[in-house]
């Protein structure tokens, strides 16, 4: 049994070999008692998952409770119990699924219409795979407030009134009852036998609902208490602003409010910006202190980046392009300053050093003044590191590629020229997306630039003999098109790392593969 138990643990931890899994399930089928033994082990595993995932959330919510002002009616005991509300609510599951879920009974008063949420065991909830994934995926995001418990035929239900709809108002409209009320409910925990003492009237929760072919389900419930609500608002609302800007009456204007740095150029105070609807810092230049030190870097906030990544609306491209031009301006100066053709690699400064933009474009004070005057070609690049700049530019190019913004192609090519070969790879990979709707002239320009890169790379590598021969490639089954170095399908030989290869060889190889692949894509676009 000991050996089998080890295999069971390995299997439950997703680490058993195929042979072990086979042996385990043969053993399970041998005797009903074996199956029960396996079931008990698996139950322990599931309960551990529930216990630890729940415990983690208790800690998380507990931190926010520290320093929470107590009310006169709040006893020490009730505060302790309260720590369990957030994790409990966080795993609420909407049992009213789908259109099939309208648990509304004809003939009852409108106030009796509830969309009931059931509390499920702690620890059973999905986690997002990307930032803001739940917010992007949800069809409805609403804030509810917990109300009075009310008695049903078999249960007490906590009424949860709708306070605000942040996303999916059009769906919520169809949830309204005859008198226009939308009400949710949670089975009162004491009645569920699971989560007793976890309810307090007047608290707010954010509910995320998802619509699918089968109906509706909950993605998530966030308990908004104490410091949680301001934090949640500060994180989620700007994201939703950007995500939903495409649905505004005037999307261009909305994007201008949210993204255009020009709105911030005249030193507007926070209240003025707020009056313009631009109180959130979603996209902005770097800011600096009087002594020229960076307070914050330029670029898109996470809210703006992910909002546009999930909803790459081409109407936002204009504002991203404006930001891109700043990088391009800097990049082209670097390329020219190095006395090299625009498309050939430019020597890099060591990582983490300043961009040098201050030197080339004036003092911080002068640059700030230029920026305040609205000079579109200047930007206060004050002590911003090269890495930070490259990262923010990469984000811009990623979004513009998703929007297939052909107008950005040339600026991107110019900026790319200022990068080292390894840094250039990620930008080259975006070119097919950027060029999808480009005209023939632009495509030919890109192909010409790529040809220069290829030629330069070949000449460079031919001057640096490698101590080891390049790995032998698998025969490329595709018809030859005159380019004998066209990368073939990913084969074992191409991925091999022979002993004795120098550091940087793989990087160069990746760069070259990317170049050829990108050029191939551009040629396909030209033909197509």
């Amino acid at each position: 049994m000991k050996n089998i138990e080890d295999i069971i643990v390995a299997h439950l931890n997703d680490e058993a070999s195929a042979e072990q899994v086979k042996r385990l399930f043969e053993w399970v089928r041998e005797e009903p008692e074996n199956a029960k033994e396996f079931a008990r082990c698996a139950l322990l595993h599931a309960q551990l998952r529930g216990q630890f995932a729940g415990e983690k959330r208790v800690h998380a919510s507990g931190e926010t409770l520290v320093g929470r002002p107590s009310t006169s009616s709040q006893t020490r005991k009730s505060r302790r119990n309260w720590k369990f509300i957030a994790p409990a609510l966080a795993v609420c599951l909407l049992i009213a699924v789908g259109a099939s879920v309208w648990f509304r009974s004809a003939g009852r008063g409108a106030g009796d219409d509830l969309i009931v949420l059931a509390l499920i065991e702690q620890g059973i909830a999905n986690k997002p795979v990307m930032p803001f994934a739940f917010e992007a995926d949800a069809d409805v995001i609403a804030v509810l407030v917990m109300g009075q418990p009310r008695s049903g035929r078999q249960q007490q239900v906590i009424r949860m009134e709708l306070v605000e709809v942040l996303k999916g108002d059009q769906h919520v409209g169809s949830l309204r009852s005859a008198d226009g009320v939308v009400s949710f409910g949670c089975i009162k925990p004491e009645n569920s036998g699971l989560l007793s003492g976890m309810y307090r009237e007047g608290e707010r929760v954010a509910v995320y609902l998802k619509r699918s072919g089968d109906g509706w389900s909950t993605l998530r419930m966030n308990h908004l208490t104490g410091k949680d609500e301001p934090k949640w608002n500060a994180r989620i609302r700007p994201f939703l602003d950007v995500l939903l800007a495409s649905e505004a009456d005037n999307p261009e204007q909305r994007y201008a409010v949210l993204l255009d740095r020009a709105l911030r150029k005249t030193g507007q105070k926070a209240d003025q910006l707020a009056a313009n609807g631009a109180g959130n810092r979603l996209a902005s230049p770097a800011t600096s202190t009087a002594d020229g030190k960076t307070k914050s870097r330029s670029g898109l906030s996470d809210a703006a980046y992910y909002g546009l990544l999930y909803n790459p609306d081409p109407r936002a491209a204009e504002f991203l392009r404006k930001m891109l031009m700043v990088s391009v301006d800097f990049g082209s100066k670097k390329a020219k300053g190095a006395g090299l053709p625009a498309s050939i690699g430019v020597p890099r400064k060591p990582k983490g050093t300043e961009t040098g933009a201050v030197d080339s474009l004036g003092s911080p004070a002068e640059k700030a003044a230029q920026f305040a005057d609205g000079n579109p070609n200047t930007f206060p690049l004050i002590r911003e590191t090269r890495d930070a700049r490259r990262q923010s530019t990469r984000q811009l190019v990623t979004l513009l590629a998703k929007m297939h913004d052909a107008q950005s192609v040339r600026p991107v090519m110019i900026y790319t020229a200022s990068l080292s070969e390894s840094d250039r790879i990620s930008f080259l990979q975006k070119l097919p997306g950027l060029c999808r709707d480009a005209d023939v002239g632009t495509l030919r320009f890109v192909r010409g630039e790529l040809n220069q890169y290829v030629a330069f790379h070949k000449s460079k590598t031919s001057l640096e003999p490698s101590p080891e021969p390049r790995p032998v490639r698998s025969p490329d089954p595709r018809p030859a098109d005159g380019n004998h170095l066209e990368p073939g399908p990913k084969g074992k030989s191409a991925d091999q790392k022979p002993k004795g290869r120098r550091p940087g060889d793989d990087e160069q190889h990746d760069y070259y593969r990317t170049l050829i692949k990108t050029r191939h894509s551009i040629e396909k676009l030209l033909k197509g």
Binding site: V9, A10, H11, L12, N13, D14, E15, A18, V21, K22, L24, F25, E26, R29, P32, A35, K36, F38, A39, R40, C41, L43, L44, H45, A46, Q47, L48, R49, Q51, F52, A53, E55, K56, L93, I95, A96, V97, A99, S100, F103, R104, S105, R108, V116, A118, I120, I124, N126, K127, G152, R153, Q154, Q155, V157, S174, I187, G193, L194, G215, S217
Partner: protein, 183 residues
């Protein structure tokens, strides 16, 4: 939007039944779908299907019948998941699914007392063992990742996991045996 008229009592009834059954359903799923994230996805799918088909569930059915009914739904969803993966190991699991579901149904009455016993037994687990469990079950990390985070070898982590698991198992069984002896 199509609108189904369901009696409010049905809502309460489903909520009660599901609250009681979901532990069993998740246990069955996590026994066969060993990746936590995938298991949670399957559970969510089962709950959706159960709600949409709730009108087909026997009106007089009790919680035990509901567990059986939802586990049957879970079996279909697990099979669908395993079929989509299509590897040998998933085939072995799929072939045993009937026995496993049957076994879970039989041990269902023990769920709550086992959970309470586990909560008590967890108080004995401290230090490195607890850290490893927290990483594995709280954060869903695998052995290699836990080893990296805690500065251990993969072998160490496996040993700690196995040893702690066995300790908990023995503790839970011991407590249950003692309680049965007393009653």
């Amino acid at each position: 939007m199509q609108e189904f008229k369901v009696d409010q009592a049905q809502v309460s009834r489903f909520a009660t039944l599901w609250t009681q059954a979901q532990t069993s359903v998740f246990a069955v799923i996590s026994a066969t779908v060993t990746n936590f994230a995938d298991a949670e996805d399957v559970l969510q799918k089962v709950s959706s299907v159960a709600v949409s088909k709730f009108d087909q569930f026997d009106a007089d059915g009790d919680s035990k019948a509901f567990v059986g009914w939802t586990v049957a739904i879970a079996r279909f969803e697990i099979l669908r998941y395993l079929r989509d993966r299509g590897t040998d190991r998933h085939t072995y699991i799929a072939e045993s699914l009937g026995e496993i579901a049957q076994a879970f149904e039989e041990i269902a009455p023990e769920y709550f007392e086992r959970r309470e016993a586990l909560a008590e037994c967890m108080k004995q687990i401290k230090g490195r063992s607890r850290d490893v469990l927290a990483k594995r079950y709280g954060e869903g990390l695998k052995t290699g990742a836990i080893a990296n985070v805690l500065g251990l070898t993969t072998g160490n982590v496996s040993v700690i996991l196995n040893r702690t698991y066995r300790t908990l198992r023995e503790c839970v069984e011991g407590r249950l045996a003692a309680e049965r002896g007393m009653s």
